[in-house]
C-alpha cells in the first residue's frame, strides 16, 4: 500500500480522518491506520500536522519496468472519435480535434480521427480542422448510431492502429458505447473530463474531472494500460484552427459484414422546449437554491428578458422542481460560456462551476460571503438577491426608458 503512516510520528490527532474522501483512515490503538478502501488519492498527505503520512512510490523491478515500457511503446498518437449527425460532423468532434491537436503537438505525435457513416467530404473537413489522418468507414448502416457496430469498428481500429490516447464526446452516443470499447480493449476510461494535460515527466495523460458528486476535482491517470481513454462534454474544449489548405491522409476501412444484435427501428426527433437555448446565449441569469421557488425564477426571468438573455439553473433548483431540467447548467446539465453570467443564490458546487466557469464575465449574488461561487466570480456581491435583483431591474428599466 503506497500511502503509509509513520507510526513514530503519528500522534493520533485524527486530523487526517476527515480529509479522506474514501473513509480509508481509522484510529487503532491511538494511531492512524490506512484500511483497504484507500484509493491512494493523496488527500491526507498535506493535512497531517506531523508529516507522518507519506506516499511510497511503487518500486518495480527492472525487468517489470522494462516490460511495461515495451508494452506501452507499441502505442502512439492521439485518436479522436468524430461523431456525426445525419452524416455531418458534430460540433463536439471539432472541439475534440482542437484538444487533440494541442496534446499531439505537446507530445510531438500525430492526431487521427475515426469517422463512421459519413462521406469522404466530411473526412476532409476533419483534416482541415487539425487531423493528420482519418479512418473512415462509410458503411450506410453506420449512419444511425447503434452500440454494437460502433463498438466493433472502433475497437478494431484501436487494436490495429494502437493509439496512445483516445478522446470521445460525452454525448448520449459517446457515453453509451465508449465504455463498451474500454471494457473490450481492457483499458481505463475517464468520463466527462474538464481539462486534459500531459504529465511532463511521464508523458501520461492527466485527466481532470469533478468527483464526489461534483464537490471537488480529481486528476485521474491510466498509467499501465493503453490507450488512455477519456470523454469530454460538448462545449468544454474550444475548437481548433480551420485551415482549408491542410493536407492529410484518409484511410477507408472495409467492414463488409456489420452485424448487430440491437436494431434501431425508428429515430424520432422532438423539438426542444421553447425559449431555452442556453448554449447559444450571450447572457444568462441563473438561479440556485437561494431563489427559493418558482416565484423567484419569475424575477430572474424578468431580468433575463430585459438583458436579452435566458434563464439557467443549478442542479439544486432543478431537483427542487422549480424549473425544468432543460435549464440545468453544470456537470450533469449543460456547459455554457456566455459573455455575461449572473449567478443568483447559487452556492457554487464544483459540479455547477465546471459548467459555467469559462463564461467571460461572472457576477455572483449570494448572501453567504463564504460561498465558493465567489471564487470564480469576476464581480461578487454579498447580499440578498431579492433586494439586489429588483433594484437592478428598476435601474435597467430606467436606463432603457421603460419605467
Amino acid at each position: 500500500m503506497p500511502i503509509i503512516i509513520k507510526k513514530d510520528k503519528c500522534t493520533g490527532c485524527e486530523t487526517c480522518i476527515e480529509s479522506c474522501p474514501y473513509d480509508a483512515i481509522e484510529i487503532k490503538d491511538g494511531k492512524a491506520i490506512i484500511n483497504e478502501y484507500c484509493n491512494e488519492c493523496s488527500a491526507c498527505l498535506s493535512v497531517c500536522p506531523e508529516g507522518a503520512i507519506i506516499k511510497k512510490e511503487e518500486v518495480l523491478v527492472k525487468e517489470e519496468l522494462k516490460e511495461r515500457e515495451k508494452r506501452l511503446q507499441d502505442y502512439s498518437g492521439i485518436m479522436v472519435f468524430a461523431e456525426q449527425r445525419d452524416g455531418k460532423v458534430a460540433h463536439v468532434s471539432l472541439e475534440l480535434l482542437g484538444a487533440g491537436r494541442r496534446l499531439a503537438d505537446q507530445l510531438n505525435t500525430h492526431l487521427s480521427a475515426v469517422l463512421l457513416g459519413a462521406d469522404r467530404s466530411e473526412a476532409e473537413e476533419l483534416i482541415k480542422w487539425g487531423a493528420d489522418r482519418v479512418y473512415l468507414c462509410n458503411n450506410h448502416s453506420l449512419r444511425t448510431f447503434n452500440d454494437d457496430p460502433y463498438t466493433d469498428v472502433l475497437s478494431k481500429v484501436i487494436e490495429e492502429y494502437k493509439p496512445s490516447i483516445v478522446l470521445a464526446g460525452a454525448t448520449p452516443i459517446g457515453r453509451s458505447f465508449i465504455p463498451r470499447v474500454a471494457a473490450r480493449v481492457r483499458t481505463g476510461l475517464t468520463a466527462d473530463c474538464t481539462s486534459l494535460e500531459i504529465d511532463k515527466e511521464t508523458g501520461n495523460l492527466l485527466q481532470i474531472r469533478p468527483a464526489f458528486g461534483g464537490n471537488i476535482m480529481a486528476t485521474i491517470l491510466c498509467p499501465d494500460h493503453r490507450p488512455q481513454m477519456a470523454t469530454v462534454r460538448p462545449r468544454v474544449m474550444k475548437k481548433g484552427q480551420y485551415d482549408p489548405e491542410r493536407k492529410g491522409e484518409i484511410i477507408e476501412l472495409n467492414m463488409d459484414e456489420i452485424e448487430s444484435r440491437t436494431k434501431v427501428i425508428e429515430t424520432v426527433k422532438e423539438t426542444a422546449e421553447l425559449g431555452v437555448n442556453l448554449q447559444e446565449a450571450e447572457i444568462i441569469v441563473s438561479g440556485g437554491r437561494g431563489v427559493g421557488g418558482k416565484e423567484g425564477f419569475k424575477l430572474l426571468q424578468e431580468l433575463a428578458d430585459l438583458l436579452g438573455g435566458v434563464v439557467g439553473a443549478s442542479r439544486a433548483a432543478v431537483d427542487e422542481g422549480w424549473i425544468p431540467y432543460s435549464h440545468q447548467i453544470g456537470q450533469t446539465g449543460k456547459t455554457v460560456n456566455p459573455r455575461l453570467y449572473i449567478a443568483c443564490g447559487i452556492s457554487g458546487a464544483v459540479q455547477h462551476l465546471v459548467g459555467m466557469q469559462s463564461s467571460d464575465i461572472i457576477v455572483a449574488i449570494n448572501k453567504n460571503p463564504e460561498a465558493p461561487i465567489f471564487n470564480v466570480a469576476t464581480y461578487g456581491i454579498v447580499g440578498d438577491l431579492f433586494e439586489i435583483v429588483p433594484l437592478l431591474i428598476n435601474k435597467i428599466k430606467e436606463i432603457k426608458g421603460l419605467s
Partner: protein, 260 residues
Amino acid sequence: MKIVVCIKQVPDTAEIKINPETNTLVREGVPSIINPYDLHALEAGVQIKEELGGTVTVITMGPPQAESALREAISLGADEVILISDRAFAGSDTWATSYTLSRAIKKIGADIIFCGKQAIDGDTAQVGPETAEFLGIPHISYVKKIEYIRDGVIRVQRMMEDGYDVVESPLPVLLTVVKELNEPRMPSIRGVLASRRIEIKKMGMADIEAREDCVGLKGSPTKVKNIFAPERRKDSMMIDGTPEEQVEKLIEEMRKIKCL
C-alpha cells in the same frame, strides 16, 4: 423472467460541503441513500415482474454497510438481495467494478439487467455498458419507455439529445434507465416487514470466481492521482456598499463590457 437490478449506495451528494480552510470534503453526517436513478431501475424490474411474472434480484457491490440499501430494495418490491462484498474489491474503478458485477451476474443468471443511467457520486455512466460488454450481451442506454417484451425480444425508447430512438434487442439484455421511465413506488407495509426478516446473501471473491488481477485497486486501469479544490479566479473583485451602491457599480461594469 429473471430480472437483476444493480444498485449503488451513495452519499447524498447534495449534502457534501467543502471546508474552505483545508479544501477538503466535509462528509460528516452526510446520509447514505440508494442512487436515485437506481430506484427507477428497481421500479422497472418490479413492474415487469408484476406483468410477466418472474423474480427480481437486487445486487450491490460495496462494504457491509450497503446492506441497508438492500433492505430498502426489499421494501420496494425486490424478492431477493445479494451483497457483493470482499476486501479485495475495495478501490475498484468502473472497469473493475463492471468486471466484478458481471462475474456475479453470470453466477445468478438473468434475462434482463437494469441499472440506473449513472450514479450521482461518480456521474460516469460507465458501469452499465461495461458490465454488458463483460457479459457478452447487448445493452441499451437511457431507456425512457419500455414498449413491449415478447418472444424473447424487448423494444424500448432510448432518450437522445434531440428526441428518442426506438430500439429492439434480443434477451438477455442490459438496460440503463432515466428518470422519465417511471415513478418509483413508496415502500409497502408488507415490504417493510419483509425487509426486516430478509436474509441477505453474500458473494465474495471465491463465490464469483473472479481473477485477482481484475478486481479492486490492483485491477483498476485508472488511478486517482490527487484531488483538489478549484483555484480562485485572479481578476475577482467584491462589490461592497449598500444594495443601491452595489447595483450602481454593477451597472457601470456591465456597461463597460457592453452588456447594457
